[in-house]
Symmetry: C2
Subunit: 226 residues, 2 copies
């Protein structure tokens, strides 16, 4: 059984000192309601950050994209990767510019990126990422062919370290500034899913499936904000 908490890595210490959380009970819920991860890797000694769809399955994150496999250098087995998921919850409006801030929840994961070549692990990862974004969608669609399965790139990151950072609540102003007649508070930021837009080529009489309402519920702000 893995330890309950992730250990902070040397890199994790840089910015995640004051408000960092390493326990799974904090880290996993933040990972489990994001629509996109920003995946960072090193290419020719330079940093590269690209947005990718992902899903967490236990202690592993799977990421998915057409060119995903090319992140790993030809000939290499793995590559160091940093995967960051961020939710912006509000603008923190203070009485001084200095104390303005942003309410957010983020998780920074470090690990080694590996190409998923085992066909069964790849299938499980694709089912997981599809059903993560659209609950039980896998059972609503035309079955995946072997050719599609082979030609889809899937990468995995087994989580080595993970740090959550959270800022919530009203502004924290200087003591003397609380007496100023200046507005302060929070401007909430929310993400929501709107009404489904039908494909122009949808066949007549095809009803919206259960996965749409489930996704709207799952990713609406009221479902996952603290």
């Amino acid at each position: 059984m893995p330890p309950k908490d992730y250990q902070p890595g040397t890199y994790g210490k840089i910015r995640y000192s004051t408000r960092a959380h390493y326990d799974r009970d904090t880290v996993f819920p933040i990972l489990d309601c994001g629509l996109v991860a920003h995946v960072g890797f090193v290419l020719n000694s330079r940093p590269m950050v690209i947005p990718m769809a992902y899903v967490r399955v236990d202690e592993t994150l799977y990421i998915h994209g057409a060119k995903a496999a090319r992140i790993i250098k030809a000939g290499a087995e793995t590559a160091p990767v940093c995967l960051t998921v961020t939710h912006i919850d509000g603008l923190v409006v203070a009485r001084s510019a200095f104390n303005h801030s942003v309410n957010y929840r983020s998780v920074v994961v470090h690990g080694e990126l590996r190409n998923v070549t085992d066909i069964e692990e790849k299938r499980h990862a694709l089912v997981a990422v599809t059903n993560y974004l659209l609950p039980d969608r896998w059972d609503e669609v035309r079955p995946m062919t072997d050719k599609e399965l082979r030609s889809t790139g899937v990468l995995a990151v087994d989580i080595e370290t993970a740090a959550a950072k959270i800022r919530q609540g009203p502004p924290i102003d200087e003591d003397e500034d609380y007496e100023l007649p200046i507005w302060a508070g929070v401007l909430p930021v929310t993400q929501s899913m709107g009404a489904p837009e039908e494909d122009p080529r949808l066949l007549d009489g095809v009803e919206a499936p259960a996965s749409l309402a489930a996704a709207q519920q799952k990713f609406s702000a009221s479902s996952n904000q603290p």
Copy 2:
């Protein structure tokens, strides 16, 4: 006068081949409606990605955070950086799992990160980032002190290359799948700002300032989505 288009860098070619745009008319609007940038750098040969507030001023991005200056290695003048801004616009629901996708707009910027030490450039950057998130907020707050100005870390990235990547519209299914009675379309994702929440310690009679409504307008989905 700078060239109209950014040149694709060697790293830019990896993933941004099919739908990449390098012209300022595409790149700038995507940068100019984001609330957070994911900033990637290399630390001890490993990638690190952290979310940060930012603003674009002409050809420069300023980023802001308490520990920002520590991204640059002690003794070094600059550090290579990748700054990515992503807007998720919808889940693309196809008739096969294989053709599911995400509608999004993203920009990947590469450049050298430098610490802003010139006090006037730092002041201009702080005014810019404050007024970017909350239009004209700088004139509503208690003036910044010299001590605050000195103790705030600001970093700048002069844009060397920038690539926008955009996916919009309905799913693109296999020809034969269009005859299947399976729902397809787009589940729109929008970001919005809610009603301002007053600080519990707000003085009686202080009205919500103009910056709040301006921010709600500026960052609402209908204002900036394509």
